[in-house]
Point group: none
Chain length 690, copies 2
């Protein structure tokens, strides 16, 4: 028996059949509910609220493990774990009202807009010399019985005469409207066409993308998109000036099918899973386009060129390519350079003939987002030994200079994005992002995103907290809390010791916001993987980590981390602070640059080809470096001299954790490799996600 489910505040009603979960029903109704674990009841993000009493036999809830008793009392339940039941047989119309908590959006937008713009404007000058697309306004002699050349040839003839373009290719879609357009325009038209080089085939005639009646202030627009596992960022660009007219961002709708790329790959293997994921990411991009064109008062059809950067899994999903083999050893992508396609092929909202150029990948674990980042960082042209780190769930690292480039992907894991951490969350409103801990009272002071009442800890907050607790002596080198602290903030529970960042009443979630020793373990694994990646990469080319002359940090998350505190916990190596530079969303920036420039596309291809991939799982020293880095800041404090100096002898003296602590001299891994629980056992170097 079915159930009429009404989702609030959307006000959408859908008929859900027996056995369907509320998450399924929401999907059917087109109502977005965050479900990063893909509906396994593990992440607790798909919570919904039911405000009215529910009759027996209407809904069966399998598990609410991720909800507190208080939340359950307030009517929250996990939508993925709540199934429509057959009913009590009494019949009659059955109806259920489900409240979906509001998703958070605001912050992402600010990130995209505010930070990238200056970089973009800086880059533009270099690249505007080789536009991929141009618009020519021509006046064509009308045909006559004496000069009855076909419409296409007539247009081509004028392009040759007036614009010195010897030949063009006119696609069927352009030809279809050509006769009417030429006549309606009284033979004065604006022809948008690709430059000859942009297809990578220099001898191919330029392709005509659009023909429209000539208008005084015709603009040609392009769209640069960064397709992240978590969020999608899009820039609307006026191609002639290079100006970013506007930008927008949103969560990748695929989040409903899993938080990280592995869950997405798993989801893609279900019936229609791949098609659904493809539609979702296209849907997300299209929503951004709609938002952008509405605000800019242009038509989506005015977007005649699109560039996209994303990791290899995102790219495969966007193109409807089965990502299955990316996850199976030996982890082979179907493509690293995507085929020549136009917006219409993918269903993107733009001129259907707009070419979609995608940043080439190095391999399964170093994707186009990283290559795009390298391009925008400029490290490929630098004389200085440069390390570029794309900080995210995955953490790709590139080392090199103008002569060589080597890269790896280390499984940072999603801990810093909030997954697997008791009170972890993404950096949305209410996330604690900066924390200071008093050295004597261990009382914290914090700041939240949007200054909203606290809800949990985001990545930068976790780094801060780890560093503060470590530096104040509350947290010992091995990741255990000191036992002799006179503060109610550190308390013992069934799960072990934990630190209370915020007491229930001051929060928006109604319970204490804590950091447990298990959370610390998870974070140590993540930071150790990143540090080990840096160390192994440097060692592989025979340079000291200290020799790195500039350390560039890309990625949205990277913009908010505190360098000193990251060094204190051993996430970043102990280099002088001035060597670090935050580049913001380097992937989007690369997409922007390649939107403007054919030269940049060629260069990007060269960069991808030049990047040597180091497979960490095949490197013996990785496991050793990793285990050594599972401490605060490192087994060998001499590797972090600034931290050593900061801590002083006194604190170092108590750095050996009592008695359930670890022996810092041991190099055996105290916990599973970081990626093991994420489904890639045997390949710790390669949980990929952003």
């Amino acid at each position: 028996m079915s159930l009429l489910v009404e989702f609030e505040p959307a006000g959408v009603v859908v008929l859900a059949h027996e056995g369907a979960s509320l998450l399924d029903a929401a999907g059917e109704a087109g109502v977005h509910i965050d479900a990063p674990c893909g509906g396994q009841g593990r992440c607790g993000r798909c919570r919904v609220r039911i405000d009215e009493p529910v009759d027996d036999g209407v809904l069966r809830t399998r598990s609410n493990a991720r909800l507190t008793p208080d939340e359950q009392a307030r009517g929250f339940l996990l939508s993925c774990q709540s199934y429509v039941e057959g009913g009590d047989g009494r019949g009659g119309e059955r109806r259920l009202k489900v409240v979906v908590p509001r998703p958070y959006k605001k912050r992402l937008r600010q990130l995209a807009h505010g930070d990238a713009q200056p970089e973009i404007l800086r880059s533009y000058g270099e690249w505007k010399k080789s536009p991929p697309i141009r618009m020519e306004t021509i006046e064509i002699e009308p045909p006559s019985l004496e000069d009855n050349t076909s419409d296409t040839d007539r247009m081509a003839r004028e392009l040759a005469r007036q614009c010195r373009i010897p030949a063009v290719r006119v696609p069927l879609e352009v030809a279809r409207g050509l006769g009417a357009t030429l006549r309606a325009a009284d033979w004065k038209v604006a022809v948008t066409l690709e430059t000859a080089e942009c297809d990578g085939a220099t001898r191919l005639s330029p392709r005509v993308v659009s023909v429209a009646p000539a208008q005084p202030a015709h603009g040609i627009y392009g769209l640069a998109v960064d397709v992240g596992t978590t969020s999608v960022v899009a820039y609307l660009v006026q191609l002639r000036s290079g100006k970013v007219v506007d930008s927008a961002s949103a969560y990748n709708a695929q989040i409903a099918c899993g938080d990280d790329v592995i869950s997405r790959i798993v989801y893609s293997q279900r019936g229609h899973g791949l098609a659904r994921l493809q539609q979702m990411v296209v849907g997300t991009i299209n929503e951004l386009v709609e938002e952008l064109v509405e605000r800019s008062a242009i038509e989506s059809g005015d977007i005649h060129e699109v560039t996209i950067a994303g990791n290899t899994v995102m790219t495969h999903l966007l193109f409807g390519l089965d990502p299955k083999y990316l996850r199976e050893e030996p982890y082979i992508p179907t493509i690293t350079r995507t085929p020549s396609v136009v917006a219409g092929d993918l269903g993107l909202k733009a001129d259907p003939l707009a070419r979609v150029s995608v940043a080439p990948a190095v391999g399964s674990y170093v994707g186009g987002d990283v290559v795009s980042g390298v391009l925008s960082s400029g490290m490929h042209a630098s004389d200085r030994l440069t390390l570029f780190m794309d900080v995210g769930t995955n953490g790709e690292i590139v080392l090199g200079n103008s002569e060589w480039l080597i890269c790896c992907a280390c499984s940072a894991g999603p801990a810093f994005e909030g997954a697997g951490v008791t009170c972890g969350m993404r950096a949305t409103a209410g996330a604690i992002e900066d924390i200071w801990v008093d050295g004597s009272t261990f009382e914290p002071t914090f700041r939240t995103v949007d200054d909203a009442p606290p809800q949990g800890l985001c990545g930068s907050g976790m780094i801060d907290l780890l560093a503060e607790l470590f530096v104040t002596g509350a947290l010992l080198k091995g990741g255990r809390f000191a036992r002799d602290l006179r503060t109610p903030r550190v308390r013992e529970t069934e799960r072990g010791l934990e630190y209370v960042v915020a007491w229930g009443p001051e929060t928006d979630v109604g319970h204490d916001i804590v950091l447990t020793e298990a959370d610390v373990d998870a974070l140590l694994r993540a930071k150790a993987a990143m540090y080990a990646g840096v160390a192994v990469l440097c060692r592989s080319v025979g340079v000291e980590v200290a020799a790195v002359e500039q350390f560039l940090i890309g990625g949205a998350f990277g913009q908010f981390i505190n360098v000193e505190k990251s060094i204190q916990i051993g996430l970043l190596p102990d280099l002088p602070v001035e060597r670090f530079r935050f580049l913001g969303n380097t992937s989007a920036l690369g997409a922007y640059i390649t939107l403007l420039s054919v030269d940049a596309r060629r260069l990007q291809g060269d960069i991808a080809a030049r990047m040597t991939y180091l497979e960490l799982s095949a490197d013996n020293s990785f496991m050793e470096e990793y285990t050594s880095a599972l401490f605060l800041p490192h087994t060998d404090i001499e590797t972090f001299p600034s931290v050593r100096d900061l801590l002083g002898d006194a604190i170092l003296g108590v750095a050996v954790d009592p008695p359930n602590g670890r022996d810092p001299g041991s190099t055996s891994a105290p916990s599973a490799p970081p990626s093991a629980p994420r489904g890639m056992a045997g390949h710790p170097g390669n949980v990929l996600a952003r």
Copy 2:
């Protein structure tokens, strides 16, 4: 004394008595022999062959007027003119083996299959050197952690190593299945790919069309299609051998929307009209494909290459291009060379990635079917002055040789296809296709398609009837019936005089089948347009019509017309009969040749570019030639000396029509230009149809 006659290949034996003709004997034996003239020895269709020497006194042959000396030497004789003789009196068993040539039955199908095949096989040798597509079977090294090149690059690498193909383009659709295919095939695959040149862009890497598990007997197939206004013909071709595996034909489903191209254009201007016409022609092609693949036990997906020839309107409709401007002065096509598309773009049943190459057009009125015809005729390479005529509703004419080509389209109009003629019809079952008229009684003898009860007159029947009536003196030079004939066959009605070909009771339609003076007018306009086209074209380059060294006739209809009779009515010029050659479906033949050969495609493009188009409506002499040709056979009988000789002085003496007849000396057009009623007033040279 009787004779045992064995008819082959039926294997039927009959005892024929003295005095019986072989035709009679066959009738007795139930063996069908075509004898449209009813056994008068005039049609030549009842020919049979005797392969063994015949004793004296066995057979007496009265006349073999319709057989060439060569045919006679090869044993052919007319069965109606060959009678069993009494013998030499020596007795003994007398036996005669008679071979009956295969009759034509499924007319459309056989046309396609039977006639083109020998030409096709003759052509193949020249063209097989530059195939547009090839299949390579490669074995690929499986990937490993050490060699983790992407699937596409891995395949490309082997194609480079094993097949010396330096680079390939892998379209999205191929990439989508690639990972699974390579693994399912255990890394042994057959790669079908275009040769580099076939896109017309020599520097572009070859495009991969399909990747499939390698199988021992993998075939690659192609489809050559002639899209006519009336019928569509398709050949299924084994590309490696060039063999035509099978062929099929059907009426173009668009017929439901109009008989000729003008009605199609009109229909296309209705709401969804264009889309509907596009679907209809695609539907017709797809039905042929279904028929072909079913009979050949292959999959439509095995068709990896498609070539199409059609007139400009057909091509526009197939591609969904608005044909509106083809009909409005100055008659401009949107395209003459179609854009690069694949089968999936058009909805054709084939490998969706199969390239669809379309024969280029010269202009609105000389389409790809004519260019394809010129290519297959070989006239572009001939030293002899050649005239190629594609006989159909339109009648395109090409004059030239290896050095120059000039062409025009004359508005034959659809009269010979049955339109606008009281009892006109297409050459389907029941159409009267051969007619003889007795010179004294004016009684007709006729033969119908499939020997079905008569329903009407098809084109070849109309030519025959005009010629017979003219030669017998029933029809006067100006197209009026003689008034003093003592026969019920010519009678007066409200519409004027008419000739009764068949009386109602003998027909399948229940009414008399007639030819009215208005019908004669329509036919005179059609034949005059064609003749005038020939005359003007010759004059335009300063040659006499008589100087034409070979007169090639293409088109399905062209195959069935009788040259002598066509000359007698002035449809064809009065050249020695041996200069005429029927080439069959030259458009389909050209499609076949270009299916096999990239060189042929290039050549076809060159031919189209070389063909100078003469616009008849802009030529002053056309109207004059046209009016002069509105007579039987022509105003100036000296232009047709063989007809003059045939008629003799007597008949010529009464050639001036009484009193409602025309003055042969006048050159003013007695009736509207041929195309005017079809919607193209002001442009008589250009009613285009096939």
